[in-house]
């Protein structure tokens, strides 16, 4: 049996309300857990770009890409291995302000992790960290011992090292 690997999927689509349902149904039907999903604008006007992270065998991954590309409003879908992309995730930690002053170690952790303090007030401060999942997980572990009031983490966003020739595809259609 081929083993599961982490794949990042990039999907270029028309901007359409119902498409989220269509794409998520493809994963749901096959009991594939979506680890993270992000939808945003892309480098091309009026074209959305989705970034989805899943753990799958490559064989299944290929079949899923086929099913995604089959959707009328999907322009093109790609899957990438971890070494084929540059990616980032982001995380916000809300922590009691008193800890910042009482626990000297927190200040060191913040410095070493390259996290940014977004805001500080009397009750709490908010720490933002962008980076690869391991870096965020490490920071989370380190801060957890002091107590975290709130935590939220974004999905992965990624760009591929290889070119994805979407503009050319769209040009080919207009000509």
């Amino acid at each position: 049996m081929e083993e599961n690997k982490t794949y990042t999927i990039s999907i270029y689509t028309e901007n359409n309300i119902g498409l989220l349902n269509r794409i998520s149904a493809i994963f749901q039907r096959r009991h594939i857990n979506i680890e993270s999903i992000n939808s945003s604008v892309s480098e091309i006007e009026n074209i959305s770009k989705w970034t989805i992270v899943v753990q799958l065998t490559e064989e299944r991954m290929k079949k899923i890409i086929g099913q995604i590309e089959k959707q009328v409003e999907v322009i093109k879908a790609y899957y990438h291995r971890e070494d084929e992309i540059i990616y980032q995730e982001s995380c916000l930690f809300k922590i009691k302000s008193e800890l910042l002053f009482e626990e000297r170690q927190i200040q060191n952790i913040i410095k070493e992790s390259n996290a940014n303090i977004v805001t500080v007030n009397k009750e709490f401060f908010v720490l933002e960290k962008s980076g690869r999942s391991e870096e965020i997980e490490l920071l989370h572990r380190e801060l957890k011992v002091f107590g975290i009031m709130q935590l939220t983490r974004s999905g992965r966003i990624a760009v591929s090292k290889e070119e994805m020739k979407i503009s050319k595809m769209l040009e080919a259609f207009s000509n």
Binding site: G18, R29, K70, V74
Partner: protein, 577 residues
């Protein structure tokens, strides 16, 4: 903003001064050449029905007795004609009643445009009366769907709907129109859609792949063709026949592919799959090259994939890239429309006969004939068999009728034994296995092909799932032939209970009503046959009757359909008894 789809030339545009959204629906349908549609009215679609009344001399609306009946009728219409079937229903229950037919059309690649009414756009999301999120519900079973809340979107969205439904691998599209959009007025203009930038329905055929396929086919000693509905959908029947005849390769069919090549053709070796013929199933695991054309290696065709044609090189001619390597890995995949790729393939093929290889099929046929076919078609026992009814229908139709079957034992018998001379003649629910499909689908088929004999062959179970459509036959005076093969059981389930559940017949025995009386209640000529000596005359009477005719044949209660590939078994382990 620039449109993401291309519409055809301005000269073909239909333009009118201010009209309502509902009239725009009618004008759009007319622009797409729609003459017949099936549906059921209700609150949220009333403005469109009002226009159907105004346009009744141009568009024939057929009132079904249930929305499921309407959608199956549209499927039957589409399957026999190759045109897009059109269905109209109201919001809420009207729309949800379409779902079974839409799912059926999706899995069997049938082009449909379903138009549903929706509550006023201001009420969306408020749990208004008969509001249901039909776009959400239908998403996984449609090729595309869309909700319209502005009248001015109607023409371009419907143009896209027809284009998407019919192009490439066809499928169902649902368009939901809010009631306020149906009332709203706007300046109408209609252009057919000819392209969408994010959608490439037909992949380009790569000549190199065609040449590779040809080289492999030419070098094969024991090649086998398995074709599916793709041959019919791309209207490739004639070039396909040319391929089969030139290459001399035995050709077997899936139940949706049958009738693309006449059943009497000497190179037609029968049906593959669970209840298919013995030879093509067994020899799937002996052939050296398997050439799959417009088929998708459904599990009912392949049996256990771990033991499916492992010795063979696989060539897959397929329009849908997502089907390639989905179930069976192809050594050579030729993407594209079957008609186009087969046309390119033909000149590269060598003329061959494969005489010895054909002999293997003939030898295995003899075994199947002795063990199964003889008893099905020429029974010596007292009870009537389903097979002999099909034999009688063949005798009268001379193979020129379209056979519309439901789901279950009778379906397998109909597919196995019906003679077909003409293409698009076997209309059945293949992928979804929808009981209740046949009666309404036959209504649509007969209306699309009024000059052809259309015979619905139905089991007593499935018949009662949509029996209300006799009302449609009656009201529309559709000269349909309806045969119910009554074994007083849900026969296929009973067969499995017998074979795999130690004959524990849980909820499969049926106490049936007087079917003849019911048919007569709708003023449909009817008779019931229980004896062999009356069968032939009864079938003749049915086939020669002017109007609709209902024939009930009481068949043996506990007959089984063989051959059979049991669950988890290999195609070559097909059982003959």
């Amino acid at each position: 903003m620039k449109e993401h789809f291309t519409l055809e030339n301005k000269e073909d545009v239909v333009t009118t001064e201010k009209i309502s959204g509902s009239e725009a629906v009618l004008k759009s349908l007319l622009a797409e050449g729609v003459k017949t549609l099936y549906g059921y009215p209700g609150g949220a679609i009333m403005p469109v029905y009002d226009q159907l009344h105004q346009y009744q001399d141009k568009v024939h609306h057929v009132l079904a007795r249930h929305e499921q009946g309407a959608v199956h009728a549209a499927q039957g219409y589409a399957r026999i004609s190759g045109k897009v079937g059109v269905v109209i229903a109201t919001s809420g229950p009207g729309a949800t009643n379409l779902i079974t037919g839409i799912a059926d059309a999706q899995i069997d690649s049938t082009p449909l445009v379903c138009i549903t009414g929706q509550v006023n756009s201001q009420l969306l999301g408020s749990d208004a009366f008969q509001e249901t999120d039909i776009v959400g519900i239908s998403t996984p079973v449609t090729k595309w769907n869309h909700q319209i809340t502005k009248a001015s979107d109607i023409p371009k969205v419907l143009a896209k709907a027809f284009y998407i439904a019919k192009s490439g691998r066809p499928g169902p599209v649902l368009i939901d129109i809010t009631k306020d959009a149906q009332f709203e007025e706007f300046d109408f203009s209609y252009q057919k859609c000819v392209g969408i930038r994010s959608y490439k329905p037909v992949p380009m055929v790569e000549e190199k792949k065609v040449q590779e396929a040809a080289a492999l086919i030419n070098s094969a000693k024991k090649p086998l063709i398995v074709w599916g509905q793709g041959v019919i959908l791309s209207e490739a029947e004639s070039i396909f026949k040319g391929i089969v005849e030139k290459s001399g390769i035995p050709a077997a069919w899936t139940i949706l592919g049958v009738s693309a090549l006449p059943t009497s053709h000497p190179l037609n070796v029968g049906m593959v799959g669970m209840h298919g013929n013995y030879a093509p199933n067994v020899l799937t695991n002996e052939c050296d090259v398997l050439i799959a054309i417009g088929m998708r290696f459904d599990d009912r065709v392949t049996g256990n994939l771990n033991f499916y044609a492992k010795q063979a090189k696989i060539i897959h001619f397929e329009i849908d890239p997502a089907e390639v390597d989905k179930n069976v890995k192809a050594d050579i995949a030729v993407l594209g429309d079957a008609k186009e790729s087969l046309t390119q393939l033909l000149p590269y093929l060598n003329e061959k006969e494969h005489t010895e290889w054909h002999q293997r099929f003939k030898d295995l046929y003899k075994i199947e004939y002795e063990k199964v076919i003889k008893n099905d078609l020429h029974p010596t026992k007292e009870g009537l068999t389903m097979g002999e009814v099909l034999k009688e229908i063949n005798k009268r139709s001379k193979g020129n009728a379209a056979i519309v079957s439901d789901v279950g034992q009778h379906q397998m018998i109909a597919c196995r034994y019906a003679d077909f001379n003409l293409t698009k003649s076997n209309i059945t629910s293949g992928g979804l296995g929808t009981m209740g499909f046949a009666l309404p689908a036959a209504i649509g088929a007969k209306m699309a092909a009024p000059d052809r004999d259309v015979v619905a062959v139905i089991g007593d179970g499935g018949y009662q799932m949509t029996i209300q459509e006799l009302g449609t036959v009656f009201q529309q005076r559709i000269p349909l032939k309806i045969v119910v093969l009554n074994n007083q059981f849900l026969g296929m389930v009973r067969q499995w209970q017998q074979l795999f559940f130690d004959k524990r017949y849980a909820s499969t025995e049926m106490t049936n009503p007087d079917f003849v009386a019911i048919a007569k209640g709708y003023q449909i000529d009817a008779q019931k046959v229980t004896d062999r000596e009356k069968l032939s005359d009864a079938v003749r009477e049915m086939m020669t009757s002017e109007g609709a005719y209902f024939l009930e044949v009481c068949v043996e209660k506990e007959d089984n359909v063989f051959p059979m590939i049991t669950a988890g078994a290999s195609v070559s382990d097909i059982r003959l008894e």
